[in-house]
């Protein structure tokens, strides 16, 4: 119900007194309103801008945030006001809605920001008043189109194919996105070339060439070099047919493809040739056959796969179908009217060219479009007067729908440009996202090495710890919890792949006494497939990639400070470029974790270590710092 109704409710209830004498039963008890009835002014502070309003105003819409008890969550006891940390400019509109019952859409605001504010305050956008509804809908549609394009561009064929793509998928990709592979590009240009050749041949074969010896008449080149031209035509048609059949084979949905515009154009382009093949050498039929040749010109439309501008034009015409229809209709009406008038006006003139009304159609059209060939000219005064009116009105009628078509064209053109720009920026965006992700995992892994694992004990960790915000601490703790839950650790992509390669040689490493680490069999991780998957699933529990500089010739294994043993063993290898001093800034370490069956005790792992081929125990393995490290360098 509208706000106004709430205001009138007490009145309606009071007026119910009028029913009382008529009532045949006793009245029910009225609901008891325990809340205080007196109206009070509420203070609402939105990011510093203080609004004041009656409580009743807000109570009008009990299913919004401000009208329900939900706003108590935002009440600030010290300042005795409701504090919202939102946009104060937008709040103005929200509050106006409560006051007047009508929601207006501010035109200068971003529509998504507006919708978010509405969602926050619990107001559905559908109640925007009629005055602003159209603008809101238009902007919303525009925004959605833009977003749809973005997602489309993201999902578009630029993504690498899954490795198990069939020949069909590959072929289709090649057709739709020629720039993905060289073969596709070659094919693209070859077809383009042959389309051009075919069209030019069609044109040139009608040009008059010098006649054969012994004849006077000029021959069209098509007849002079008929063998050459027919060979060319056959070649082109063969290529087009091949292309069409391949597209048909590769299309994911053959029915849809067969019904699409481009496929129809393809078929129409090559059909005349095949019909000519089956047509007998009959005189009267070949006349019709010659007409069929006209359809060869449709080959030029095949260029629309190669040209974006043509596609835009096609889209525009489609979008403006109604305007074009209107143009046609109004022109027809005007043509008929003026043709009739001119015919009757010129009827009296001797030897007039306006022999019938259909004949006058030609004059009317030529005049209205301001062509004025001059083959039909009115003689009588009436004819001249009406003829001039005809030409003036023609200009008007044609000029009217043109701006609509133009604006549609501009809109579609800009959309296309935007899509292109998005595609170009796509790579940059992806790289940025990857960098951000790596940065986060870098921080976490660094934190772990700094001994944050133990919850920041000792001064050694103090340096690094204080540089991180509370948020980071909590995030890291969370990741640690995840590690503990899954019994795996986060690690780095490059070192992981390194380890994989080493594992293919049966490499196992272990820690020193107080460590328990084991690299379990890594056969599962070392197939190429898993490696790729591991690299791609960069943020999974199995392996996490860090993009910093890695030197993997030394692998360090950290051990926990004295006395503490990991309840569950993990294998973790730290690769560091330098000695283990707590060097927070220049960290290039990586932790690799490999799924292993949990090793039970450190002692078991020890016997394995000598049996590792190709691993040298570094002499520095005996150096121990605050955290005992065993450096193992690989080949």
């Amino acid at each position: 119900m509208a706000a106004g109704v709430a205001t009138w409710m007490p009145f309606a209830r009071a007026a119910a007194v009028g029913w009382l004498p008529l009532a045949q039963q006793t009245m029910p008890k009225p609901p008891v309103d325990k809340t205080s009835r007196s109206d009070e002014i509420l203070f609402v502070n939105v990011s510093g801008l203080r609004f004041q309003t009656w409580k009743n105003t807000l109570d009008r819409y009990p299913d919004t945030l401000l009208g329900s008890s939900e706003k108590e969550f935002f009440y600030n006891e010290e300042t005795q006001e409701y504090f919202f940390d939102r946009d104060p400019e937008m709040f103005r509109h929200i509050l106006n809605f409560f006051r007047t019952g009508k929601l207006h859409y501010p035109r200068h605001e971003c529509i998504q920001a507006f919708e978010e504010e509405l969602a926050f305050y619990g107001i559905i956008p559908e109640i925007i008043g009629d005055c602003c509804m159209e603008e809101y809908r238009d902007r919303k549609k525009e925004n959605q189109e833009r977003l749809a394009e973005d997602t489309e561009a993201e999902n578009a064929g630029d993504a690498p194919l899954p490795p198990d793509a069939t020949l069909r998928d590959k072929l289709w990709r090649a057709f739709e996105n020629p720039h993905t592979s060289t073969m596709a590009l070659v094919f693209y240009y070859v077809t383009g070339f042959f389309i051009a050749v075919s069209v030019i041949a069609n044109v040139v074969e009608t040009v008059p060439c010098r006649p054969l010896k012994g004849s006077i008449k000029d021959l069209p080149c098509g007849e002079k070099f008929s063998v050459g031209f027919s060979c060319l035509d056959t070649a082109c048609v063969l290529i087009f047919s091949c292309e069409y059949l391949m597209r048909l084979y590769a299309a994911p949905s053959r029915c849809d493809f067969a019904r699409s515009v481009m496929s129809v154009i393809d078929v129409v382009a090559i059909l005349p040739f095949y019909i000519g093949l089956v047509m007998p050498e009959n005189e009267e039929v070949s006349g019709a056959f010659v007409t069929l040749r006209v359809f060869r010109v449709f080959r030029i439309f095949k260029f629309s796969r190669h040209s974006q501008g043509l596609r835009i034009l096609g889209c525009t015409l489609q979008a403006c179908a109604s305007e074009l229809g209107f143009l046609l209709f109004s022109l027809t009406m005007a043509v008929i009217i003026f043709a009739t008038v001119m015919f009757y006006a010129e009827k009296g003139t001797k030897g007039t060219t306006f022999s019938s009304i259909p004949a006058s159609f030609w004059y009317t059209i030529v005049t209205m479009t301001t062509l004025g060939y001059g083959d039909m000219v009115p003689d009588s005064i009436a004819g001249k007067i009406f003829g001039s009116i005809c030409s003036l009105s023609g200009v008007l009628v044609i000029a009217l729908p043109v701006p609509v078509i133009v604006s549609n064209f501009a809109r579609i053109y800009h959309q296309n440009q935007r899509a292109d720009k998005m595609r170009a920026q796509q790579k940059v965006r992806q790289a940025r996202i990857r960098m951000a992700k790596k940065g986060a995992t870098n921080a976490f892994l660094q934190h772990k090495e700094d001994g944050g694992l133990q919850g920041g004990d000792g001064d050694s960790t103090a340096f690094c710890v204080k540089n991180r915000s509370a948020f980071e601490h909590q995030h890291h703790h969370l990741l640690q919890c995840l590690e503990k839950t899954t019994n795996h650790e986060f690690t780095d992509e490059i070192t992981y792949s390194e380890v994989c390669m080493m594992d293919s040689m049966g490499f196992r490493t272990s820690r020193s006494t107080s460590l328990s680490s084991q690299q379990g069999s890594t056969t599962t991780c070392c197939s190429r497939r898993a490696k790729r998957r591991a690299i791609r699933l960069a943020n999974s529990t199995v392996s996490v990639s860090r993009g910093s500089v890695q030197e993997l010739d030394t692998l360090h294994v950290t051990k926990t400070p004295v006395g503490t043993q990991y309840p569950q063993s993990r294998s973790s290898l730290n690769a560091r470029t330098e000695d283990l001093k707590l060097n927070c800034t220049d960290y290039t370490a990586a932790i690799i974790s490999i799924p292993t069956p949990p090793a039970n005790s450190p002692d078991e792992s020890l016997p394995n270590s000598p049996a590792i081929p190709g691993i040298l125990r570094n002499s520095r393995s005996s150096t121990f710092n605050t955290q005992e490290t065993v450096k193992i360098s690989s080949l």
């Binding site: 309606a12 009028g18 009382l20 004498p21 045949q24 009225p30 008891v32 006006a345 009436a382 007067i385």
Partner: protein, 230 residues
């Protein structure tokens, strides 16, 4: 010069176009009476200001704060200060979406519009509310009688009562249980008259009405229920 038919028409058309052009230049104003169209605009912008707070306080039983609150709501809904019958009907109909409340709203409007000028001012509104919510039982019964007495002649006839009753049943709408039969209103009217009409003269006067109601405990109890609406 002999002009044949088409030329005549052509020249007529040309002259017509000349007239159109003249209008553009403002050379010749064709006879048009557009003074009258501006007059109607004046009425809709008439505003009404209510009497002062003190006067209203004297006339009604509301406190100052209540009057303020009431006026704020009233003014928000009707910035011009007046409620006409159509608006009133629309508002009242919103409370009864299932049925047709327009007839009853019409009667209600007349009950509130004491000076019968076709619009309810804030004073009418608040005085009526004061009677309904804060008035004595006799006053409330008087108000109800006033509502039923459509032509304000001091007595309720069977026809008036039937009209009121029909309009109340109309508000129920179609989907009721048990469903409203066509003679339900008249049956109800008969019952009402049986109870109220002491001297069986076919009309109910004020005294009969008040006396009967005061003796009826149910009605008295119900009247007390509606006191705490505001």
């Amino acid at each position: 010069m002999v002009l044949d038919g088409m030329e005549l028409i052509a020249i007529t058309v040309v002259i017509g176009l000349f007239f159109v052009m003249f209008k553009q230049f403002g050379v010749w104003e064709p006879l048009s009476l557009d003074e009258s169209s501006d007059c109607e605009l004046e009425l809709s912008t008439v505003r009404h200001q209510p009497e002062g707070l003190e006067q209203l306080q004297a006339q009604t039983q509301f406190t100052r704060k209540e009057l303020q609150s009431l006026y704020r709501g009233f003014k928000n809904e009707c910035p011009s200060g007046l409620v006409d019958e159509e608006t009133f009907k629309t508002i009242y109909s919103q409370f009864f979406p299932q049925g047709d409340a327009t007839t009853y709203a019409h009667f209600l409007f007349n009950a509130f519009d004491m000076d019968r000028n076709g619009s309810i001012r804030f004073e009418d509104f608040v005085i009526g509310l004061s009677v309904l919510l804060r008035g004595s039982e006799t006053e409330k019964l008087l108000w109800a009688f006033n509502l039923y007495d459509i032509n304000k002649d001091g007595c309720i006839t069977k026809e008036e009562m039937l009209a009121i009753m029909t309009s109340i049943y109309d508000m129920m709408g179609r989907y009721t249980s048990p469903s409203v039969r066509d003679d339900d209103p008249s049956e109800h009217v008969d019952k009402f008259f049986q109870k109220m009409d002491r001297n069986r003269d076919g009309v109910v006067t004020i005294d009969e009405f008040i006396e009967t109601c005061q003796k009826d405990e149910d009605i008295m109890a119900s009247i007390k229920l509606f006191e705490n609406v505001i």
